[in-house]
């Protein structure tokens, strides 16, 4: 009699364990304290909306969560974090309610609410202490990991930053904003395919948002896929006309592809928003890059002078170190072969850069950029003064030392290639061009330079190939764009030669 019972019991045991195990493994642990399943569902919806930048909807969901569970402390805290989308008094009331209810929540939640209070009270020391305590007690908490990721990024430890972000993502796939972070991190370390994959994910999970398209535009811009970049920027602007980043970046790409008029138009259209946000320096820089692309050196010299004048009187401390303006001015003088003025501008640049470094010692990355800019200038100087070799050595050393990603070194590598070319070292010029073109395959001026170098070496086929890329990229360029005319002349010459 026991045998059938044994069999049934064994079968029941297997089924129960299997089902129970499946439920246990598939169940997601709750991260916040609430007695109501409906309130928790509303919380989750609010988080999803928040991560998709739909803050108004997130606020509504959180309010619903507090209605469903009036003792949902973290919902009140989260409402406070979205204070920009409500009255200040309401936001403060929410934080106070969270504090009142904080006795009944987990220690982690208590720390987070306390952080909110520290931020509201601008008690930064207390905030630091709380963040350290949170990191120490809950090293695997998502918010702690996010913090660590940000810090690692600031310290240029991109690999670690990616590691932290990926851990958060694995635990909470709903953190779609992390795909954006990962995209940019991968761009920084030169993993362009990974970057585009991450940004595609971001775009998939956050449909109808401008930011993903803007990010993809950046990725395509950095990899030389200018048509795709322009499409993405245009889509971002279409979705959100106030998305000023896309406007500015679109202007840059347009300039790169020789569509200077359109670039100027786009830039002007975005000017009010830039002004509103206080990003006029960016505007000025792009304006001057358009002039540079048009080889309007006088325009650059004049405009940079005006900007430098304004910068002197700026209330912002940072604005008093306008290194980029000095750079552009010096460069323009060099292009005009006004060595004396260029030298003067370069000296000022050095002083300003030193001053910046002294004033902002923590901003090492920016200082490093200024150093590269100086090297660029010196190299140009070397070319202009007929001793390009000096420039080569210095620039090559700086490039080797730099930890910037390949696309960020675009200008510098091009300058090195150009210096090689002007020094008659055509093969080296071709090699440098190849290094850049490996990353930004369709970089127009590099392709043109490579074509010229190949031409010098008699590599007609290679020269034609590069020329073809250049002309394809520049197919919509303005009629009078300087590089295009140059390229056409070379093409004619090469065609007749072949």
């Amino acid at each position: 009699m026991t045998r059938p019972i044994l069999t049934l019991v064994a079968l029941g045991l297997v089924a129960t364990i299997g089902y129970g195990g499946y439920r246990i493994l598939s169940e997601e642990p709750r991260t916040v304290t609430t007695a109501s399943d409906e309130a928790y569902a509303a919380w989750r919806d609010a988080e999803a909306e928040r991560l998709r930048f739909r803050y108004d909807s997130a606020v509504e969901k959180l309010r619903e969560a507090t209605r469903l569970d009036p003792e949902f402390a973290m919902a009140y805290y989260r409402l406070w974090t979205l204070r920009e989308w409500m009255d200040e008094s309401e936001a403060n009331q929410h934080l106070d309610t969270a504090v009142t209810l904080s006795d009944e929540v987990s220690p982690r939640e208590q720390l987070m609410i306390a952080q909110g209070v520290a931020i509201r009270d601008e008690n930064w020391d207390e905030l630091d202490r709380l963040q350290e305590e949170l990191a120490e007690r809950f090293p695997d908490d998502n918010d702690v990991l996010m913090q660590r990721a940000r810090r690692a990024w600031e310290d240029n430890d991109f690999e670690s930053a990616m590691g932290y972000y990926e851990r958060v993502l694995e635990k909470d796939p709903e953190r779609i904003d992390i795909h954006n972070q990962l995209g940019y991190l991968n761009l920084h370390v030169g993993n362009y395919d990974e970057a585009i994959a991450s940004l595609n994910r971001y775009n998939f999970f956050a449909p109808g948002l401008a930011n993903p398209h803007d990010s993809l535009g950046d990725a395509y811009r950095f990899t030389g896929e200018y048509e795709k970049a322009m499409q993405e920027y245009a889509t971002a602007i279409e979705i959100d006309p106030s998305f000023v980043w896309s406007a500015a970046n679109l202007a840059v790409v347009l300039a790169t592809t020789g569509q200077l008029d359109k670039a100027a138009e786009t830039l002007e259209a975005g000017r009010p928003m830039l002004e509103e946000r206080g990003w006029m320096n960016w505007y000025h820089n792009i304006r001057m890059s358009l002039m540079t692309a048009a080889e309007d050196w006088d325009g650059v010299i004049q405009y940079s002078g005006e900007c430098l004048e304004k910068a002197k009187n700026s209330e912002e401390k940072e604005d008093r170190f306008p290194v980029p303006f000095h750079f552009r001015q010096a460069w323009a003088y060099l292009e005009k072969e006004d060595l004396e003025s260029a030298t003067q501008a370069a000296n000022v640049l050095e002083e300003v850069a030193a001053g910046y470094k002294k004033t902002f010692p923590e901003r090492a990355q920016v200082s490093q950029e200024f150093g590269l800019a100086e090297a660029l200038l010196r190299s140009h100087f070397a070319r202009a003064t007929g001793s390009p070799e000096t420039g080569i050595e210095m620039l090559a050393a700086r490039l080797n030392e730099s930890s910037k990603s390949p696309h960020q070194l675009e200008d510098y590598r091009y300058e090195l290639a150009l210096t090689y070319f002007e020094a008659g070292q055509f093969q080296n010029a071709i090699d440098e061009c190849a290094k850049l073109l490996r990353v930004i395959t369709r970089h127009p001026r590099t392709n043109l330079l490579a074509a010229k170098a190949h031409n010098e070496l008699g590599n007609t086929e290679d020269a034609l190939s590069h020329l073809g890329v250049y002309l394809d990229v520049m197919k919509r360029a303005d009629k009078d764009f300087p590089g295009v005319a140059d390229a056409r002349r070379l093409l004619k010459k090469l065609s007749s030669a072949s």
Partner: protein
């Protein structure tokens, strides 16, 4: 244990569950739910594509094995379950955007998939399978319903039920992520994996068990079932964590195909090589049906379908399978096939339980390991392996305990048989009580050999008798065989004897013996006994141990039968000794009882005979070894006459003595208030009848002697009529009276009066005198009494008493006649002058006196 949990009910419940599962599966197969046509791994947090439905939406969209689905409908996927929920919220025909990571190209891209229906595409073929399933189940149920007490019928029902599940559930499903699909797929796969070993197992023991299988069941059974269960474990693992599509692989299909082929081969071999024509005739249809039904399945479904991927021929293999249940059903109905002696295959249960134990253990280890890793957040493979090993080690003792428990349930303990024998040899002689002895042997043998039945078969008058609830059935033929062989008798041997009788020339004697032996074999089978082990005490068959088949279904091995025989022999000797001991006890008890009864009897008798004027009285009471109820007494009646009583109470021993004592008290009490013997006897009769059992009665002669007038008034209640010798030498027998006292109610006792002239002798006696027998069994009789009384008539009463006594002893040839001898002699004297001291006879063994 509630009666509801019988094996029959449990199997029926299993069949019902299978029908419910099959019906659910059929319903589910015809339901329309949205699917993308991709097959995912069910466990983990990522959706890994391990297969696509050929021509399905996923394949058309470009999804490939190895792709990871990262998002569906703009939602990041948290788990396969989450993804299934997302899809379930859609409709058939909806276009859904998928975010797919292509592992080969290392790129992430979006694709749009138009959801299709999960309804089974080829409904017609599926309906054919459902029809087959119903036929199988119906055949199995029919066989089981009519033969549910036989194990082959149960086994066949199990096979047919598994076929039901297999046909209805095992059809290829397009998706696995709906829970109903997961369930159905698992049912079907488990059934398809368990069918082949069950098939092979069945034909290794049916219709005739294979010797090598019986000898090597220990490894053969686990090998049969553990392998398919491991396949299922692998299938389950692949469903949840694998990198390839969870399915029965080609190698596994080949293994399972081998099982089927081997099963067929076993059946065919049995049919071809069996020497028993009866058996061959009975299994012929079954063999042909099974071969014709199974071979196409092997060719079209296994070889072409599974191995070569040509599924279009599957129906050609499935439809002929209907021949299997049909041929089985026919054979069973026609030839009562399930009544053939087969060894019970309960080891299937053992094998299945072992496999389930192993499978459960593996599942627990994996699940606990994953839970631990997940909670600790570890991702390192090394940590995962170490954790799994540690958990496996932690659960190993529990698994071993369960396995040990199963071993003990199904197999005998690993005792040394010699040790067991030695233990029993010590215990048996010290056990005196028969019941205790049988309990001891039952407990030891049951725990050692785990027989399904164990019985002590009684031997009545040298013949075995099988008892069931209602009847006792003697087995003379089997008894004769046992006595002839003096060795354990198995049902196999009986079957061979039966076959021999069947084959031999059917002379008249054979014609009679065959059905008789067959009847007796059926009785044994019905009692569940397989082995009969005789216990002889010397040449005498004392008892037989009956054992059913072992629970493990293994045969009783030689050393086990020797053990049983030794135990049975010891048991027989001990039973004999116990009986002798019991007899001695009974005898002693009887002797003690007799001594007490004798004491009572002696105390009843008068201490001395009365001395009366004109009469000479002598009395004698000689008790035999078996005390009877004889007594005599002299009482004083109301009218002053002397009452003379002689009585013989029925029965022997203490009951007779007590009754006599009671009777004496009654007579004495009534004598004090009555004078008439008839009246006294009437009263005593009524009293005795009401106070005793009908079989208790007493013969009694009561006389009232008027000493002065020499008149004797008497009544005889069924006693030996006293002899009156007249002075002229004639004899009268004083018979007037009625029936013995206590025999019949309401009797009236008539009286008669006689005159005792001087010189007349009245002899009152009990039947111990007249019924004493010589060596030729001739009784002393009344003639003998008359003769001696005649001879001694002029002697004193005491001499007459002694003379009668001596004559009786002389006739019997000994003083121990086997019955009490009680005598009273009353001699009427001529005058007071005849009275002298010498005539006062004191022949009682105990002196006493009577005072009038």
């Amino acid at each position: 244990m509630p009666v509801i949990f019988t094996t029959r009910n449990v199997l029926l419940a299993f069949g019902l569950l299978a029908v419910v599962a099959g019906a659910f599966s059929a319903y589910d197969a015809t339901r329309s739910r949205p699917t993308d046509g991709a097959v995912w791994v069910l466990g983990g947090s990522k959706i890994r594509v391990v297969g696509t439905v050929p021509g399905g939406a996923a394949e058309r969209a470009g999804l490939q094995v190895g792709d990871i689905i990262e998002g569906i409908d703009q939602q990041p996927i948290r788990s396969p379950r989450h993804a299934a929920q997302l899809l379930q919220s859609k409709n058939v025909g909806d276009e859904v955007e998928y975010l797919v990571f292509d592992r080969l190209a290392n790129t992430t891209d979006t694709t749009t998939i138009r959801l299709e229906s999960t309804r089974i595409a080829n409904l017609r073929t599926y309906l054919v399978y459902c029809g087959l399933a119903l036929i199988y189940f119906a055949a199995g149920l029919y066989v089981f319903w009519n033969n549910s007490h036989t194990i082959p019928a149960r086994l066949f029902f199990l096979l047919c039920t598994l076929f039901l599940i297999y046909f209805v559930s095992a059809s290829e499903r397009s998706v696995f992520y709906y829970w109903s699909d997961v369930l159905t797929r698992n049912f079907g796969t488990l059934a398809s994996l368990m069918l082949p070993p069950l098939f092979l197992h069945f034909f290794l023991v049916f219709p005739q068990p294979r010797d090598w299988f019986r000898r090597h069941y220990r490894w053969a059974i686990p090998l049969l079932y553990t392998l398919p269960l491991l396949y299922y474990a692998q299938f389950t693992y692949n469903q949840f964590f694998g990198t390839t599509l969870a399915k029965v692989t080609v190698i596994q299909q080949m293994t399972l195909g081998f099982y089927f082929t081997a099963g067929l081969a076993s059946l065919v071999t049995t049919y071809v090589t069996s020497p028993d024509p009866t058996l061959r005739q009975r299994v012929k249809i079954l063999t042909i049906g099974t071969v014709l039904g199974t071979l196409p399945f092997l060719v079209f479904n296994i070889a072409l379908g599974k191995l070569l991927g040509r599924e279009e021929f599957a129906l050609f293999g499935a439809i002929p399978m209907v021949l299997v249940p049909v041929s089985f059903g026919y054979s069973i109905a026609r030839y009562r096939l399930m009544e053939l002696e087969v060894i019970i295959r309960r080891s299937i249960v053992y094998g299945t339980l072992t496999g389930i134990t192993v499978g459960t253990y593996l599942v627990i280890v994996v699940l606990v390991g994953n839970t631990v890793l997940r909670l600790s957040g570890q991702t390192s493979q090394l940590v995962a392996i170490i954790a799994t090993l540690l958990i496996a080690a932690a659960f190993a003792p529990a698994r071993e305990r369960i396995q040990g428990f199963l071993e003990r349930q199904f197999f005998r303990e690993k005792h040394d048989l010699q040790q067991a024998l030695a233990d029993l040899a010590k215990a048996i002689p010290s056990t005196i009580e028969v019941q205790q002895l049988t309990d001891l042997i039952r407990e030891r043998i049951t725990s050692l050999l785990h027989p399904s039945e164990f019985a002590f078969v009684p031997v009545n008058d040298g013949i075995l008798v099988i008892r069931n609830e209602e009847t006792h059935t003697a087995l003379p033929m089997i008894t004769e065989m046992i006595k002839r062989r003096s060795a354990p008798l198995t049902t196999d041997y009986l079957a061979s004897e039966l076959a021999r009788l069947a084959r031999g020339s059917m002379g008249r004697a054979q014609l009679d013996r065959y059905p008789r032996l067959r009847r007796e074999m059926r009785v044994l089978e019905h009692a569940g006994l397989e082995v009969l082990v005789p216990g002889f005490a010397g040449e005498r068959l004392v008892a037989v141990l009956g054992l059913g088949p072992k629970r493990s279904e293994a045969a009783y091995e030689g050393d086990e039968l020797e053990l049983l025989q030794t135990v049975a022999g010891q048991m027989a000797v001990q039973i004999d000794n116990t009986r002798l001991y019991q007899d001695a006890l009974d005898r002693r008890q009887l002797e003690e009882e007799m001594a007490m009864a004798r004491g009572i009897q002696q105390r009843m008798l008068p201490s001395s005979v009365p001395v009366v004027l004109g009469f000479e009285i002598a009395a004698l009471n000689l008790a035999s070894s078996q005390v009877s109820g004889d007594y005599y007494d002299f009482v004083s009646l109301l009218d002053g006459n002397m009452g003379i009583v002689i009585s013989d109470v029925s029965g022997k021993g203490m009951p007779a003595s007590l009754l006599a004592s009671n009777l004496q008290a009654s007579i004495r009490a009534l004598a004090a208030s009555h004078s008439q013997p008839g009246t006294i006897l009437t009263a005593v009769n009524t009293s005795l009848y009401e106070s005793t059992d009908p079989e208790r009665f007493a013969t009694l002669f009561l006389a009232s002697l008027n000493i002065e007038r020499r008149y004797l008034l008497y009544s005889n209640a069924g006693h030996n009529p006293p002899l009156l010798r007249r002075a002229d030498g004639t004899c009268e027998w004083l018979e007037v009276g009625a029936t013995p006292l206590g025999a019949f109610p309401g009797m009236e006792y008539p009286e008669s009066e006689i005159y005792m002239a001087p010189g007349e002798v009245l002899v009152l006696f009990t039947d111990g005198v007249t019924e004493a027998e010589d060596h030729a069994e001739e009784q002393f009789g009344e003639c003998g009494l008359e003769e001696i009384v005649h001879r001694l008539a002029r002697e004193p009463a005491g001499e007459i008493v002694s003379g009668i006594r001596d004559a009786v002893f002389s006739h019997a040839g000994s003083e121990n006649t086997g019955d009490d001898i009680t005598l009273i002699v009353i001699r009427a004297l001529a005058s007071e002058l005849d009275l002298d001291d010498a005539s006062i006879a004191e022949t009682n063994e105990t002196p006493g006196s009577y005072t009038a």
